[in-house]
């Protein structure tokens, strides 16, 4: 059997079997194609994917306490945090020793800063300990440390330290979703209504984004329809009205909305001029949610119109005409025949606008005031103001998760390979 197969197998000019030769050629083709893509893939990996992964690590990283207080955290392992008793002398001795060495390396405030995110008071506790600890020379360290600050005598203090002495934490994610771990019991509880900010902010971001999607759809649909019905020559000219804002810098468009909407702005002046409002009744259209919605609807409108237009262009006019000639009322023909055909465009445009809206930062920051800011503004706040990078990263990862989820929908509807620009 084998012999027969050997006989009939084809060979190339140099004597190698055709099968092997073909496989080799295909492998070479694959290699060549891959080598062309590789430089960009490498670049994107280093300059983009790694930074995102780094952020992911930041959101769970908890190594500060363990790295600066290694002996204390090790000693705390033998202490049962729910026993109702303070840790023994060994732990206190390690803590005193390590605060001394951390103070020398100016690291003790880092631990305090980290634990302060969990429970306020730790920052000052460690700063104070850094000053007082050099006076503690002889055992018993337990009494001496408690004497320096009675907080060291609270079981709660040690519970917080123990629960943050592992390399990783889910604390930032809990905080980002308005949950808190009770240190006394280790149970996870949601924050009281008045203290919850992040869920509200996520919710507001999503609601405003939906409002923007709805408005862009309502405003964009008639125009896209009109563009698809007029002659190509006319639509080529009118599409400039869509493309010009699309290509204009985001900051230019935001600036113009500030000029239009502010209290002393163009729209208020105009409304006073026509007598619609009085000088005292100037409308507050900026630095609130209204400002964000108006400006972002304008900014994102082209992202709705362009996909809608490209879908509507392909719907044959004869469909509606056929429906009307069969006796349907023009409205019914539109609603039952034309509208369902635009669904892919509506889907693509809506998801695109939603994905873009939910991650917006610049426009809400400039025109959003207090009631119109998004979750992105909170991320920026934690990175550049509060410096709670772990929490900022955790919020970022959650937002990224939401965006990717919607992107999967987008991919199902449109396909990333069919993504078109302008």
């Amino acid at each position: 059997m084998e012999k027969i197969q050997e006989k009939i197998s084809l060979v190339t000019a140099d004597g190698t079997p055709l099968k092997i030769s073909l496989a080799r050629a295909q492998r070479r083709g694959k290699m060549v194609a891959f080598m062309m893509v590789f430089p960009l893939l490498f670049f994107v990996a280093i300059a983009f994917i790694v930074p995102i992964a780094d952020m992911l690590l930041f959101s769970i990283d908890n190594s500060i306490v363990k790295n600066i207080l290694p002996k204390t955290t090790e000693a705390l392992k033998d202490w049962s945090e729910y026993s109702g008793e303070l840790p023994d002398e060994v732990v206190f001795a390690a803590m005193v020793e390590e605060i001394k060495s951390a103070k020398a390396a100016k690291q003790h405030t880092k631990v305090g800063g980290r634990l302060n995110y969990e429970s306020s008071g730790f920052s000052s506790l460690f700063r104070k300990a850094g000053r007082k600890v050099k006076k503690i020379k002889n055992p018993p360290f337990k009494e001496a440390l408690i004497e320096s600050d009675k907080l060291w005598g609270e079981i709660y203090t040690w519970q917080v330290i123990k629960q943050n002495s592992s390399d990783y934490t889910d604390g930032y994610y809990l905080a980002a979703l308005d949950f808190k771990r009770k240190f006394e019991s280790g149970k996870i509880e949601s924050l009281p209504e008045k203290d919850s900010i992040y869920l509200k902010l996520f919710f507001r971001t999503i609601v405003i984004s939906f409002v923007i999607v709805f408005l862009t759809l309502v405003i964009g649909f008639p125009l896209s329809y009109m563009l698809s019905t007029v002659s190509t020559r006319t639509s080529n000219i009118l599409i400039i009205f869509v493309l010009l804002p699309f290509w204009t810098s985001l900051l230019v468009r935001t600036t113009s909305w500030i000029a239009l909407l502010q209290q002393e702005g163009v729209i208020n002046d105009f409304l006073i001029f026509i007598g619609f409002i009085t000088e005292d009744g100037r409308l507050a259209m900026i630095h609130n949610a209204t400002g964000t919605v108006i400006a972002m609807t304008h900014i994102l409108l082209p992202f709705m119109i362009l996909p809608l237009f490209s879908v509507m262009k392909t719907i044959p006019k004869s469909y509606v005409r056929a429906a009307i000639s069969l006796g349907a009322h023009p409205w019914k023909a539109f609603w039952k025949i034309y509208f369902p055909n635009t669904a892919p465009g509506i889907g693509a445009g809506s998801i695109l606008v939603f994905i873009l809206a939910i991650g917006y930062y610049i426009t809400p920051a400039l025109v959003g005031g207090v009631s119109g800011t998004f979750i992105s503004n909170r991320i920026a706040y934690h990175i550049s103001n509060s410096l709670n990078w772990g929490l900022g990263s955790a919020i970022g990862v959650i937002l990224l998760g939401i965006v990717l989820l919607f992107f999967v929908f987008y991919d199902r509807i449109v396909g990333i390979n069919n993504m078109k620009l302008g």
Binding site: A47, F48, V50, P51, T255, G359, G396, L421
Partner: protein, 284 residues
Amino acid sequence: MSNLPPYLSVPERIWHYVFWMICIAVLFFLIFPLLVIIPLSFNEVPYFTFTKKMLSFDPEGYSLKWYNEFFTSLNWQGAVRNSVFIAFFATIIATFLGTLASLGLSRPQMPYRTLITSLLISPMIVPLIISAAGMFFFYSRIGLQGTHLGVILAHAVLGTPFVVITVTATLTGFDNDLIRASQSLGATSTTTFFKVIVPLITPGVISGALFAFVTSFDEVVVVLFVGSYRQRTIPWQMFSGLREQISPTILSAATLLILITIALLTTLELLRRRTERLRGVTPS
């Protein structure tokens, strides 16, 4: 719009005109915010409003002082220089790597195409604030935060998806018979590449490069985090200006940016027509 078919009923005629009014209102909504900035930038007083003098077309109500400010102030001139410098190098990196990758991605033998394409265009999908945060952490760690190189690399990454998409789109409509024809006529693969492939994909490459340039030129979130005052670009300067003291210099900068946009749109349109002509497609 004027020649309606005679068989339409009165309500249908009314609806037709109402519909056109709606469309004109939408067009107005799209374009008015851009146009309103232009006269405001010639304001005499340092506010974002039309003064009485401006509305009565009194020449005294208008001035060029904000343009003067724009072209002489160190802040703005530094911003212009940085914007052009950063966008130029970011575009070169993005265009070179993006075009090469697109040529690879368009080969039929390319393995894991969908996965790799998704990775390559991910910088376009991830919200800018998240990219900016990640880059801020990582670039600070490796000492690139607050350097021109850092901002250039960040912008190059953000621009590559646009190059990949436009060039791949050009290559999708590519007629492979042209390559076979060239080879059958005795051309080497180098000659084929430069004489046949390059001229055909050039419009795609140029429009991809324009996209990459605009991405960098307009980008502000990443510059705010990865850059510092020394890397301030025009949008950076506008953003901090809008947050601190609002001066119509921002409006003059905005007006100049609108003019650049118009020039750019015209270029893109000419390129599109060239592609269609080369492909032998009549403009649809």
